[in-house]
């Protein structure tokens, strides 16, 4: 080879290779891993990466969806079609069932969110199948507490995260050894930003649920955010429901995810909007993070993803 040989690699190739390496470490180090699939763009990207990591073989883990019962129907349809298309196992566990079995109390209020309750279902599911590692699509740029979490994040038997007892993570060497009862949450796209994910989705032509693109929807305005009209929220006197053209920047529950007004009908438009936006992803769309400065830190300590 000549001296001009270029060894430069694109940042998306580097992020992709890092994520694939992490997924293969999970396969190599754990007996019973699972990939937590929410139907959102980050976990859809994870599935795409997993296929690259293990095809032409089968995925060495099932997809697991913790269904809060408050999902966008479009996300559920997408989930089922994806699982069928790739021919991999999909395990669904319902928060509704946990509420019934364990007689949990649902939070009340206008936007009664099952966000906290899904931790119960997640921990039950981990126990039911004996999962020792759960792969998730969380990113460090999302939130301050996430910025400090390891790629292999050890959780105690209650799923709890202790930021002061994290293992040092050196080079690309991941220590996944755990005691019985503990499990590891693994975040292969830790080092990706929101924009990285969108650029990757564009490059790889990854399909997404339709709600990520501009569509007409009945919404109500609440503290400057657009909340979808659904059977899961309470309408009060004075609430005005309007038809708006919106899209979703993140996809969580219908009760805790806000829409943004947008006419972006394709990936290029979305990337343009995100590049120009002056608000962060969670700040714009997540009602659940506004509770306190340390909302995520607290939830993680209690077993949340």
């Amino acid at each position: 080879m000549s001296n001009q040989h270029s060894y430069q690699s694109d940042y998306l190739d580097q992020l992709e290779s890092e994520a694939i390496h992490i997924l293969r470490e999970v396969a190599g180090q754990f007996e019973r891993p699972a990939l937590l699939f929410s139907g959102g763009k980050d976990s859809i990207t994870l599935v795409h990466l997993a296929l690259k990591a293990f095809r032409p073989g089968r995925l060495p883990f099932p997809l697991v969806h913790i269904d809060t019962g408050h999902n966008f129907p479009e996300a559920l349809t997408f989930r089922d079609e994806l699982a069928a298309r790739i021919g991999e196992r999909l395990i669904i566990r319902e928060v509704q069932e946990t509420i019934r079995q364990r007689q949990l109390t649902e939070p009340g209020g206008k936007f009664a969110s099952r966000n906290a309750l899904q931790t119960f279902t997640l921990l039950d599911t981990i126990e039911e199948f004996g999962f020792d590692a759960c792969i998730g699509g969380a990113r460090r740029d999302e939130e301050k507490a996430r910025a400090k979490e390891r790629i292999f994040s050890i959780r105690d038997e209650f799923g709890g995260w202790d930021p002061k007892r994290q293992r040092p993570e050196l080079w690309n060497t991941y220590n996944g050894r755990i005691h019985k009862g503990e499990n590891v949450r693994v975040f292969p796209i830790s080092n990706w930003t929101e924009l990285d994910v969108w650029n990757y989705i564009r490059r790889e032509k990854i399909g997404l649920p339709s709600i990520y693109f501009a569509h007409e929807r009945e919404v109500l305005s609440y503290e400057g955010q657009w909340i979808a009209l659904s059977p899961f929220i309470r309408l009060d006197d004075g609430d005005r429901v309007e038809k708006r053209q919106v899209r979703y920047r993140t996809v969580g529950d219908m009760t805790c995810t806000a829409a943004v007004e947008s006419s972006a009908s394709g990936i290029d438009d979305i990337i343009r909007e995100i590049t120009a936006t002056r608000t962060s992803e969670r700040g714009e769309t997540r009602i659940d993070d506004k509770v306190s400065e340390a909302a995520m830190e607290d939830r993680k300590k209690n077993g949340y993803f």
């Binding site: 690699s9 580097q14 694939i20 095809r55 089968r58 460090r140 910025a147 930021p163 050196l170 608000t279």
Partner: protein, 413 residues
Amino acid sequence: MDLLRFITAGSVDDGKSTLIGRLLYDSKNILADQLEALERQSRNKEDGEIDLALLTDGLRAEREQGITIDVAYKYFSTPRRKFIIADAPGHVQYTRNMVTGASNANLIIVLIDARKGVVEQTRRHSIIAGLLNIPHVIVAINKMDLVDNSQDVYNNIVIDYAEVAKTLQLKDVVFLPISALKGDNIVSRSAAIPWYEGPALLELLEQTEVEKDIDRTRGRLPIQYVIRPQTEALHDYRGYAGKIASGTWRKGDAVTTLPSGLTSRITSIETGGREVEEAFAPLSVILQLEDDIDISRGDLLVNGGRPPQVTQDLEALVCWMDSKPLQPGNKYLLQLGSRLVRSQIKDLEYRLDVNTLEKDLAPGQAGLNDIVRVRLRTASPLPFDAYTDLPAGGGAILIDETSNVTVGACLLQ
């Protein structure tokens, strides 16, 4: 657009957090709601200016105690590059965190307070940068505004640090005068320091060439996983999957498996779901080989020039990261790439003073944040390279088999 990972070394007093905040802020990587949160938190401050340092504070536990307990990662990008910052606290007790943050870094920014010059902490950070072989060093002499942007002050510090860099054999050391607080020479050149004619910090970060830092002649590929579909159509398919640590891998190349020594040739290379003729670090790949030889997770594929050593008796510099001491006779798991072997500390040769590089020849044991030279023996032969020679093949971790905790970073010699 490529990727650069860097670490910032310095304490809060040196303006490290302000520098990171400034880089994110001036490169427009801070968004409106994050800024609002900052303004809210800065409101209690006397001067009313936005405290950019607050951007790098993470957890409530840390904010309450005004400390940083761990490495935090920050991201920003320019049209030319994506940057990953490992923000590690600089205090004396945090060697562990700095080593962790430095292990993946292409570059280190060593911050020096212009009023104080080269101090013990500067030496410590530089020694660690040298031990970990960080290929590029930017010495940012900060708070220039507080010394009237004096060229003399700057020049004296450059002379002092050049001495340190020479002793430590640091490669590619670049200096620049900045004021993180005022934003001078951070994103663009500042008129406040007219005598400095070099590039601003962000330009340096964008221009540093990193792809030459990886060895392209000696191939190292730790095998993580063997893909075996075992379907009718792919009955004999065996794909050896791993992330290339170094070297260049081409179809038709001869490869050797270590420690077994079995050889074969590459018949196909796949990366990112596509078949390619050639692949190199840092790509994740799947290789298929001509012969059906026994390869499994933990094996190392090598090609090209000088092969690694394969032995059970190793020497290593260990940065100790656990509160329980390291003592001769202790047994640990050693993880190098995808290989996990039992090992025993045979001898503790000396402790390195990270402030002076002096050797304490009879340390007895090593405590948290100590760097020591050890002799160890592994239960089975380990293929490895000397870290100083080929970092991609010589950085390992030690794991306490009873607590499962990562207790040491091992630079094999």
